[in-house]
Symmetry: C2
Subunit: 241 residues, 2 copies
Amino acid sequence: MRRASLFLSPGDVADGILQGHLLVAIDVLRASTTICQALVAGARDILPVAEIEEAKRLAESLGRENTLLCGEREGRIIPGFDLGNSPLEYTPEKVKDKTLVMCTTNGTALLSRLREAEVYVAGFVNVGAVIRRLGSLKGDVAFLCAGLLGQFSLEDAVCGGMLVAGLGGRRKVRLSDGAVAGKLLYKRFAKNLLGMLQASHHGAYLTGLGFGQDLEFASRTDACPVLPVFREGRITIKESC
Amino acid sequence: MRRASLFLSPGDVADGILQGHLLVAIDVLRASTTICQALVAGARDILPVAEIEEAKRLAESLGRENTLLCGEREGRIIPGFDLGNSPLEYTPEKVKDKTLVMCTTNGTALLSRLREAEVYVAGFVNVGAVIRRLGSLKGDVAFLCAGLLGQFSLEDAVCGGMLVAGLGGRRKVRLSDGAVAGKLLYKRFAKNLLGMLQASHHGAYLTGLGFGQDLEFASRTDACPVLPVFREGRITIKESC
């Protein structure tokens, strides 16, 4: 029987534990949501990096003409960068055909630690695409929550639970304790994802910074029906889905 | 307003994050449960250590006459030790007036990392005593789940949620995302704690080893109404509760 594991915090991922799993990274607020929106808006690809200086060097080496520097620290755009981490900034006018070098506190930091693997990127805005893809493949699945500063975040757990629920019931999938918990949390909040985002620690923080609309955007199930795949340092659209 | 944080995995606890908090350590299966039972059975004190060799050295230095070596690896008694980690072993005949040097994979490993602080030890068997104590004190509270091999475990999250619920409602306590999640999980499983333990990853593993009765014991709310407090390397009964 297929197994599904939901790692509720990045610290839960021990060395070697992901081997042989299909991998899905979740950072609802906001990297996953922003990545999906950027690809929908026509960005060519996205290069996630962990550190600001690394992002600057990479953007310089690629040439700044077709490259945008994107990312945040403490929720705010990094000084000197072209775009922050609000999905609303990622319009076709700004990102079409561009390469985005992206540096965020939780989401791209998580991805940049997974350089060897192929990783799907998931938020509420593209759950359907991710579930369809996983349904077409065999094998165990590990869902990785980016969390907030290394800690549990409610919104990533709920999104992870939505994905777990999408894999099917008990007869089809064996769930880890984290997957059981995430699925229950999703069921509790399924009818009010926006309210859950607003009540979450990270959501309240972003609202206080003036990013309340980002929460509304992030709560829209399947608003950005793409499947971002991270492979060899680049995120692109998985075309076959 | 008082704050309550529930750290669902040991890896969620970043450096310095616990400062100024009342601390409660939770390892339902089985260190918390066993520690409560041992104290009810008259053990003088319990010295939690992380490593087997350290436990042996400490027991030797204390003199073996009034000292028992206790603990497990992979759920089984450590070879050469006097007792394993099943609460059912900790009878008055065996432990009365003894000092227990205890080495378990998750629970005492967590405690031994918290040497500076005063930490209460909680399981389902003593939730009432812990809640009464916290209710008599002021200040923010951090509940620390021992988890399983560094990962999330359902039973510790549910017990943490039960403790969070016991602190009072929204008007009295501000909850972290982890505390919100734990409280919801507790509400889901409140009527069937034993079923939750049996379905949990760790519970199923222990049942497979023949420790099914330990789950039944661990699920008994307030069966061991003591308040173990860990301070300066020793766990004793907090007498004032």
